[in-house]
Symmetry: C2
Subunit: 187 residues, 2 copies
């Protein structure tokens, strides 16, 4: 699927600011893919559709999680985490993308998971460091992304967990599994 | 089993400073048990033996984990975490304690886990706040332990995770699960 065609398919599902974010994630993901020898077309496709389900109604997402083969424990965690797994499902059903590696990159782009593929890391990291992002620590992760994909992803996960804990928020298990897993890779 | 008899059984397995720690954990656990309506004899017994395997040879603990029905992922984490699960196993085999609730309190005293029983919480917390402990945040947890067993345990877990992350250390999954679980109870 050509980039503009894909963007035209996702645009109606996003608010304008989110669509701008998506385009920056696409550019960032392509750059990271080139840098780290990841399939650029797959990175582009996953990035375009990574937030496809971002604005789905919460009750609709809950129904998909309950009815489909998605982890039920998602329902015990913040609904902000649901749009990745639900998005992967809907991008397959509604857009017809069947490449599992692309769907997985969409699925795990928010939480991460243990044993992420390079494609999953690229999309996860692009979403975290795209140039519109501005939160504590993003500069260090952006710098690290030029040097070491694994370490940059691990820093992003560590920042995320630290931030959530400072807010007394729950942490989705796949996020700390990803943290533990990548720590063993980078240390 | 009478307290002095139990202490006499554990003493040969511990260094002197660790035996003193154990006696303080026993006193603290009994106080917490009384305060929160937990069986004092069970709390006493679990506290006496909580560090039974603390000084077992690392290779011996590794063999127990490999050979017995213990989680194999322990081997991917710091060996400091092994003495709880291995201790529960050895206290059953060598001391003859068969009360599963006591063995579980020994087993989870370092990592915690989701859905801890009140007895498990008492031993976990007593180990964390006994009066010989002196590390950042212990005073707040000690104060909280007078008010709310769940919140005190959750604060201890949060402190532990924060400390480990500040050292770029891995976090055993059950510790995160305990943090998430108790957060839902206290918030």
């Amino acid at each position: 699927m050509e980039r503009n065609e894909a963007l035209a398919l996702v645009e109606p599902h996003l608010k304008a600011v989110r669509f701008e974010h998506t385009k920056r994630v696409v550019d960032t993901a392509i750059n990271l893919a080139e840098q780290y020898g990841v399939d650029k077309q797959k990175a582009e496709l996953a990035a375009v559709f990574h937030d496809y389900a971002k604005y789905r109604d919460k009750q609709e997402m809950q129904r998909w999680i309950e009815q489909e083969a998605l982890p039920k424990d998602l329902l015990d965690f913040h609904h902000e985490l649901w749009h990745g797994p639900v998005g992967a499902l809907l991008v397959k059903r509604e857009i017809g993308i069947t490449d599992q590696s692309v769907l997985d990159a969409i699925r795990w782009h928010t939480t991460g998971r243990a044993n992420m593929t390079p494609l999953e890391k690229v999309v996860f990291l692009a979403d975290y460091i795209e140039p519109g992002r501005d939160f504590p620590g993003v500069g260090e992760v952006r710098d690290q992304a030029k040097q070491d994909l694994d370490r940059a992803c691990w820093m992003a996960l560590k920042n995320t967990i630290t931030f959530l804990m400072s807010k007394d928020a729950t942490i989705y298990p796949d996020t700390f599994h990803a943290y533990n897993d990548l720590l063993r890779v980078v240390e």
